[in-house]
């Protein structure tokens, strides 16, 4: 009886608040509005596992968009595929006072394919609705249900994943039959409520009154400051395949079972492999020759349907069409190596994603597949979708990651190579002949290694007109007359790019009377400065460690003498090291600059120190020398 009363009371209050506009913007606590462009008024994610192969999701959210910056949040899009169906789509638009303006139903939502870039075909689709309103703030409520008829993963919960989002209330309820086990990973300090309801176990996570965080540069993410939960199955059924992924070993076993029968090569392919390696003496040479064959004969074409998202196309098939996705090409390479008597393992990896969590096995921590050729001393890692990189170079996005080797004995965690600052180098020597008019003849020779090679390798394959346009745009030299330029990879076996440029600059020096001003660091200045942040919240890091060494040799014009040469600079901090000096001999100034940065993850409170360091580099890079006319 008591219970009924409470429910009745609740209903009454609900109704009456609704009439006044439950989503009236005036009801938002003032401190939530600070730095916010979007307020999540409420979010309710209700996921129920029925059995290993099916589940349902009920979702509802109410979002207030405060200003133009938050407009992206007003677009609703939900993905689905052959193994999921969306229904009960509904959206309501409210004005600032929380008064209903318009209602949208299933039919108002548009439907289109959601095939991602680089993929020629998969079955993912999207239902979407764009709600537009010219008066801020406004509020959108929307809800939908999804039935899953195939499971690979359970939904995660990231109530806020963007800058400028504040949350009034968000909740994730997860239900699973008591006969099934699962696992979850959550943010620190987040409470888990669990209880048993009939034959189901229910888990609940929630958060309230989370303030918005203003954008912070170089951030490695908001996960250390905001609540989140990741949930994953131990057993599942998907597209007629049963999987157990309780731990990484089992993930490996499942993936191995999907690929183990796909490595048979037809006789023609086997003969081809034998002929390619017939003169190779060492396994290393064989790997290189077969990898080169792979690069010059295949290309990336992504086709992923159902289990095809995990199961590679058979090697035989790849041999006949010479294309495939990352799994197909890695698997084909594995088959060729096998024919050459070399054992290799497929590798599940999150390219440009965090490392696999060693204690938490799930499929959605990876998005890519490469190949690992274990050797006693010198394990080789092969990125099989690139037609360009040298054998063994896997690129910045794959480096320094915990990954899963898919072996006949199940999954084995391993670590991909790390590139040090010295690996990711830029070495440059330039000569600059100045004349009295302020114009200059300049030659520049630069070598880029590893990650910096990767950043610039696009230049190797561009048409000269395009190369030229990009060069002129990227060089910070005014009034360029390009004479010649070339981009080469001197040694096909090494991830090193060589750039040679020769140009004339009609106005390099800035004039001020009979004095000429010359910015010594002509080519590699740190542009702009970042500003300090009080009370920063998130960790930060630069994209990758690197080391830049620049040497510029200036020949000063006849009739001028050096009036001022800046002093040497050495800057050192835990973030990196910077030196700059100018040495004068006869009519030559040799300017050398070194800059080494490490991409360690730094805690938020160190940011202002980083800013100070960065500012010093900025100022040091602006140093000018003054030339004066000899009287």
């Amino acid at each position: 009886m008591k219970n009924i009363l409470v429910i009745l009371l609740l209903l009454v209050t609900y109704k009456s608040t609704n009439a006044q506009g439950a989503y009236d913007v005036a009801r938002i606590q003032p401190d939530l509005l600070k730095n916010a462009s979007v307020i999540i008024r409420m979010e309710d994610q209700n996921y129920e596992v029925k059995n290993p192969g099916s589940a349902t999701l009920q979702y509802k959210t109410v979002i207030t968009i405060l200003n133009k910056n938050g407009e992206d949040a007003s677009a609703i899009h939900e993905f689905y595929d052959k193994f999921s169906s969306i229904y009960n789509l509904k959206a309501i638009l409210y004005d600032a006072k929380g008064i209903k303006i318009k209602e949208y139903r299933n039919a108002d939502f548009k439907d289109r394919s959601a095939v991602s870039d680089g993929t020629i075909y998969d079955d993912s689709r999207i239902k979407y609705l764009e709600i537009l309103n010219n008066t801020f703030p406004y509020t959108i409520e929307y809800s939908y249900s999804i039935d899953y008829s195939g499971i690979r993963s359970y939904p995660s919960w990231y109530p806020s994943s963007s800058w400028g989002y504040a949350i009034e209330k968000s909740e994730y309820t997860f239900k699973i039959p008591e006969t099934m086990t699962f696992k979850y990973l959550k943010s620190k300090d987040l409470k888990t409520d669990s209880l048993k309801i009939k034959d189901k176990n229910q888990y609940k996570w929630s958060c309230q009154n989370i303030k918005a965080i203003e954008y912070e540069p170089l951030s490695v993410g908001l996960r250390n400051v905001l609540p989140w939960v990741m949930v994953a199955p131990n057993t599942f059924e998907f597209d007629e395949s049963k999987g157990n992924i309780e731990n990484w070993k089992n993930v490996g076993s499942w993936l191995y079972s999907l690929s183990s029968s796909s490595q048979l090569l037809p006789d023609a392919a086997r003969a081809k492999v034998r002929s390619i390696i017939k003169n190779a003496a060492t396994p290393k040479e064989k790997i290189k020759l077969l990898y080169n064959y792979l690069q010059s004969n295949t290309r990336y074409v992504g086709v992923q349907l159902g289990i095809g998202g995990y199961k590679p196309i058979a090697a035989e098939k790849v041999f006949s069409v010479n294309y495939g996705d990352c799994k197909a090409l890695s698997n084909f390479m594995k088959a060729m190596l096998q024919e050459a008597g070399i054992k290799s393992d497929l590798v599940m990896i999150g390219n440009d994603m965090p490392s696999l969590n060693t204690k938490y096995a799930s499929l959605n921590q990876a998005n890519h597949m490469i190949l690992c050729v274990p050797m006693e001393k010198d394990t080789t890692w092969l990125e099989c979708t690139s037609q360009y990189v040298p054998a063994g170079f896997i690129g910045n996005g794959n480096s320094d990651k915990t990954v899963l080797l898919i072996t006949d004995k199940g999954g084995k965690l391993a670590q991909t190579p790390t590139y040090s600052p010295a690996n990711n180098f830029q070495k440059r020597v330039a000569t600059v002949h100045l004349d009295a008019e302020g114009s200059a003849a300049i030659t520049i020779e630069t070598k880029y290694g590893n990650a910096q090679y990767e950043d610039n390798m696009g230049m190797l394959y561009m048409e000269p007109t395009e190369q030229r346009k990009r060069l002129i745009n990227s060089l910070s030299i005014p009034n360029i007359q390009m004479e010649s330029f070339s981009f080469t990879q001197p040694d096909k076996e090494l991830p090193v790019l060589m750039e040679k440029i020769s140009l004339k600059c009609t106005q390099l020096l800035t004039k001020g009377g009979d004095k000429l001003f010359l910015t010594l660091n002509m080519l590699n200045r740190q542009e702009g400065t970042i500003t300090t942040i009080d009370n920063r919240k998130t960790f930060f890091a630069v994209d990758y460690s690197y080391q830049d060494d620049d040497e510029i040799i200036y020949t000063i014009p006849k009739g001028y003498k050096l009036e001022y040469v800046p002093a040497d600079i050495i800057l050192e901090s835990e973030f990196g090291r910077y030196t700059a000096k100018a040495v004068v001999k006869d009519d030559k100034i040799t300017y050398t600059r070194t800059k080494m940065m490490t991409n360690k993850k730094y805690p938020p409170e160190k940011y202002n120190e980083y800013v100070a360091f960065s500012k010093k580099i900025y100022q040091s890079d602006k140093q000018k020398t003054v030339l004066a006319k000899v009287e």
Binding site: N35, A36, S37, L66, N67, K68, N69, L93, I101, K102, K110, D111, R112, S113, V115, I120, Y121, E130, L132, N133, N134, T135, G164, S296, N297, R299, V301, V303, S320, V321, N322, Y323, Q387, Y388, Y461, M462, E463, P464, T465, K469, P478, N479, I480, Q507, T510, K511, G512, G513, K515, F517, G528, T529, T531, E563, Y564, Y618, Q619, K622, K624, V626
Partner: protein, 666 residues
């Protein structure tokens, strides 16, 4: 011989079909033999500027003709194509993936009838053929109206020759897709032929700067066959050695510069029924618009606009104020949804206001209804947006894609556009600034081209009044005044920021050392007036010390860093969209212990006919320095012949604005 009226049309139909069948054979002869590749084709190279192309089109042959469609009793347009490439490098592999987009709309459709493809590789001097197989054909339902047919060829290598052959049948006869003679890679040979039945009249539009050889091959043959106008029109175009098309900055769209031919239906006859004029003159287009549900009908369906307008303008008599009030009302209540169209998406003003958003026609024609209700003389102006390209000028409705309004206030004409929230009368959206528009009086069934060039130059003045402190800091005031498009850009930035701090943070982000206090902005919500900003500023880290001299760039943060015109030559005009002027002033007080060692010289640069000017004026009196830099671009468009002057002008701007000012401690 007497032929009854009933039989004659039938005969004509047969006649047309038989000619069509016969001509199809001649057309087909144009095709290179599919599947037959010569060894010599593998030796193809490209020289000159395109020598590093990733691939080359060896030939591209297309034919278009019409066939009766038994189920619709109308004709279908059939397009057949055979294209062959040689791939030079891995960057050219993408040409081995073909994607064709098929339209379905209102029960009508385009349909892919035949597709064939193959890869040819040289293996030890022998040609190895790999055919496009069934598993490499994919059909993706992109959305309600479009299906993507995708194909991936096998065994692609550097040096491969690939080809595709396909046939598409279309129920849509109104416009025929353009045939492009030019693309991002060079084309050695391109040939397009089309046979248009005598009952159909199409407007032919060609574009681009490549020389086309256009012929009418069967003219003589037709003349010997009796009554000429009963026979089809046969056109053929050939282009050889077409260079790759490369993009430039300050353009409308590359679509304006690519070589192509396309057609739009202007009239047709259905034998035995009647003659239909589709579009062939501006009056006819105006009439069509008048009778169109989503144009003429929309405008006439005034709904409750009388009450709305009465409520809005009350006793206001001044037409300027009336126009502004109504424009504001529409801008505040309707949001442009990002789509351009000259037909509304809704059927009435009420429906648009219910939805609170709409395409450019929804928004602007709603505005028109309200203005008319208020007694303002107003007409729609059809526009082809900058991205849609320049309208060819012929009476072709399909080449427009948007609309704005023109009102007459007293004796002056003013353009209105409600798609941009912070705009004002005569300030239309940037995309609409495509130089010409067609003013349509649907009721009177007339159309007239009008100029869309902004009447007033957009100005921005940045003035610093500063003094140099002992600590080498510059401090003082900054005043910024902006009009028209310059003020629109600041308004958009300000009003889309979270708050003023957020706006200032962005403003400061590329101005290292600048600190702002006491910021004030005036007229941010009054787009009809100049936008004024004032603030107190302190600038650190700007003065450089070298011995006993201090030097700095007086342009502070407003220096033109780079010449936007880098290419030596240019094939297209430079299109700035609107004329504009940027003035920069600085007045600086020096401390007593300093004197000026070197001032930059006063200089002035002017383009022929004063189309653009740059002046740099430096003056000094005692310890006061005043410098003014002014860039004036008086025209929106400069021809490719004038490009060189512009390039030189900007070169001078970059050089002059980089000059340092030197002061010396006494």
């Amino acid at each position: 011989m007497k032929i009854t009226k009933f039989i004659a049309p039938l005969l004509l139909v047969f006649c047309a079909i038989s000619v069509s069948a016969q001509d199809k054979q001649t057309l087909r002869k144009k095709f290179e033999k599919y599947g037959v590749v010569e060894l010599s084709e593998f030796k193809t190279t490209v020289s000159g500027p395109d020598s590093a192309a990733s691939a080359v089109v060896l030939f591209d042959t297309g034919v278009g003709y019409f066939e009766p469609n038994p189920s619709t009793e109308s004709l279908n347009y059939i397009f057949e194509r055979h294209i062959r490439y040689k791939i030079f490098s891995k960057a050219g592999y993408d040409y081995a993936n073909l994607e064709l987009r098929m339209l379905q709309y209102n029960g009508r459709k385009t349909e892919l009838k035949i597709i064939d493809g193959a890869t040819y590789n040289l293996d030890n001097g022998k040609i190895v053929i790999s055919k496009l197989n069934k598993e490499a054909k994919f059909s993706e339902q992109e959305d309600k109206n479009y299906t993507l047919e995708k194909f991936a060829l096998p065994n692609i290598k550097e040096g491969s020759i690939i080809e595709f052959k396909y046939k598409i049948s279309s129920d849509f006869l109104f416009s025929i897709d353009p045939w492009y003679f030019q693309r991002k890679i060079p084309t050695l040979y391109s040939n397009f032929s089309i046979i248009i039945p005598s009952d159909y009249q199409y407007k032919e539009i060609t574009g681009g700067y490549i020389e086309l050889n256009r012929t009418e091959p069967n003219k003589n043959y037709l003349n010997t066959q009796g009554v000429q106008n009963n026979f089809p029109m046969h056109l053929e175009y050939v282009a050889k050695n077409v260079p790759a098309l490369k993009s430039e900055s300050y353009i409308t769209t590359m679509e304006d510069h690519v070589s192509k031919v396309e057609y739009e239906l202007s009239s047709y006859k259905i034998p035995g029924k009647m003659f239909y004029q589709v579009t062939s003159s501006w009056p006819l287009i105006a009439k069509e618009l008048k009778d169109e549900l989503r144009f003429g009908y929309f405008i006439r369906k005034t709904g409750n606009s009388k009450i709305v307008v009465k409520d809005l303008i009350k006793d206001e008599k001044n037409p300027d104020t009336v126009v502004k009030k109504i424009l504001d009302h529409v801008k505040n209540n309707l949001m442009w949804n990002g789509n351009y169209n000259f037909f509304t998406s809704e059927l009435s003003l009420k429906a648009v206001f219910d939805k609170k958003s709409g395409n450019s026609a929804d928004v602007n024609l709603s505005l028109m209804i309200l203005l008319k209700e208020a007694g303002i003389e107003v007409l729609p102006v059809l526009i082809s947006t900058r991205s849609n390209g320049t309208h060819p000028g012929y009476p072709m409705l399909s080449k427009f894609n948007s609309l704005i309004l023109q009102v007459k206030i007293g004796e002056k004409y003013v353009l209105l556009d409600a798609t941009t929230k912070n705009s004002s009368p005569d300030i239309i959206a940037y995309e609409h600034l495509n130089h010409f528009g067609l003013k349509v009086n649907a009721e009177k069934e007339v159309g007239e081209w009008i100029s869309l060039e902004p009447q007033n130059i957009s100005k921005k003045t940045t003035s610093y009044v500063l003094s140099l402190g002992a600590d080498h800091k510059l401090s003082g005031k900054l005043f910024i005044t902006a009009t028209n498009y310059h003020s629109l850009s600041t308004r958009n930035k300000y009003l889309s920021s979270n708050d003023e701090n957020d706006f200032l943070k962005n403003y400061k982000s590329n101005k290292p050392g600048l600190q702002i206090t006491n910021y004030k902005i005036e007229n941010v919500n009054a787009p009809y007036q100049a936008l004024n900003e004032t603030m107190d500023v302190v600038i650190e880290d700007h003065m450089e010390e070298a011995g006993n001299v201090l030097y700095f760039n007086p342009l502070l943060f407003d220096k033109t860093e780079e010449n936007p015109f880098k290419s030596e030559e240019r094939n297209f005009p430079v299109d700035f969209a609107f004329p504009h002027e940027e003035t920069y002033r600085i007045s600086l007080d020096l401390p007593k212990e300093y004197e000026v060692e070197k001032m930059p010289k006063t200089e002035k640069f002017t383009l022929p006919e004063g189309a653009a000017t740059f002046s740099f004026v430096a003056a000094q009196q005692d310890n006061k320095i005043a410098i003014t830099s002014k860039i004036t671009i008086n025209r929106a468009v400069f021809t490719s012949e004038e490009y060189h002057y512009l390039k030189e002008l900007f070169k001078s701007i970059v050089r002059k604005q980089a000059e340092q000012l030197i002061i010396k401690k006494i």
